[in-house]
């Protein structure tokens, strides 16, 4: 009886599914609730992580390393996205002195 087998038996895969669903929804909640663009960004990171967790769980449970490779890629993309996104936010802040999304309304119609 290996350690993994033990884990499989004690922790059903569904638990991970639910956990990542909850984390994802917390991320969504954060995105909807907050006005600070940086917090929204962080919520998005949280959502990313929920998905990552799910991928890793599946990867382990099904013994397929592809899932983990994907997580690796997602991290790379997330890093890139954060760097560019934060750069944009910095520029916006520099110009408008605010990162409040309710005030960033000029991009319409």
């Amino acid at each position: 009886m290996s350690l993994l087998m033990n884990i499989f038996q004690e922790i059903p895969l569904h638990n991970y599914l639910f956990l990542s669903a909850i984390l994802f929804c917390i991320g969504v909640f954060g995105v909807l609730l907050r006005r600070n663009a940086i917090i929204i960004f962080m919520s998005i990171e949280l959502m990313f992580n929920a998905v990552n967790l799910l991928l890793v769980a599946f990867s382990t449970y099904y013994s397929d390393s592809g899932g983990q490779v994907f997580v690796f890629f997602i991290m790379a993309v997330a890093a890139a996205e954060v760097s560019v996104g934060l750069a944009i936010l910095v520029t916006i802040y520099r110009n408008l002195h605010s990162v409040d999304i309710d005030e960033l309304k000029s991009l319409k119609w």
Binding site: I11, N15, L19, I38, F72, A80, S83, V90
Partner: protein, 171 residues
């Protein structure tokens, strides 16, 4: 035993996540998010994905969150800087998120229970196995990611650079 570890880590992750989105102070949010990431790294370890766990800590907690902190400090944001959303918006945020959760849970409830595979490969989470997969099967995307990172780096620098030429005042 492992189940309790799972429960503890799960509770920690959810708690930290909730605190992240509800803290008034952005710096607190960042701290809680780091906590959340650690909890998730714990999950990774639990799932025998050691390499990812380490990378996760390094990339997220070490790099991304530091970036967030820097940005926050640069902007000098604090509790007072963010106004409350209107009540209606907050309620609808709760409702929407709740609805999404409900639908997701409902969907997941319908899925088949997990049947473990016959042979279990213990090595997939290890650096060696992962490296093999990454550099054999996924070599091309791997190289693309390097390009992506490079270009995002250039892009970030370019965007955030202070523009010297005079520009039209925005309202």
């Amino acid at each position: 035993m492992t189940f309790y570890i799972f429960l503890f880590l799960a509770a920690l992750a959810v708690f930290c996540g909730l605190m992240t989105v509800t803290s008034r102070n952005p710096v607190h949010s960042v701290i809680f998010l780091i906590g959340c990431f650690f909890a998730i790294a714990g999950h990774y370890l639990l799932l025998n994905a050691q390499f990812l766990a380490v990378v996760h800590i390094i990339v997220y907690a070490g790099a991304i969150m530091v970036l967030f902190l820097f940005t926050l400090m640069m902007m000098n944001l604090n509790e007072a800087s963010e106004g409350h959303k209107p009540a209606l918006a907050r309620i609808s945020a709760v409702v929407s998120a709740g609805l999404l959760l409900f639908i997701l849970i409902a969907a997941l409830k319908k899925t088949e229970p997990f049947a473990p595979p016959l042979t279990i490969d213990h090595s997939i989470g290890l650096v060696k196995a992962l490296g093999n997969t990454l550099l054999n099967e996924y070599l091309l995307p791997f190289e693309f990611v390097s390009i992506l990172l490079l270009s995002s780096m250039v892009g970030a620098v370019l965007i955030a650079k202070r523009d010297k030429s005079p520009k039209p005042e925005l309202e």
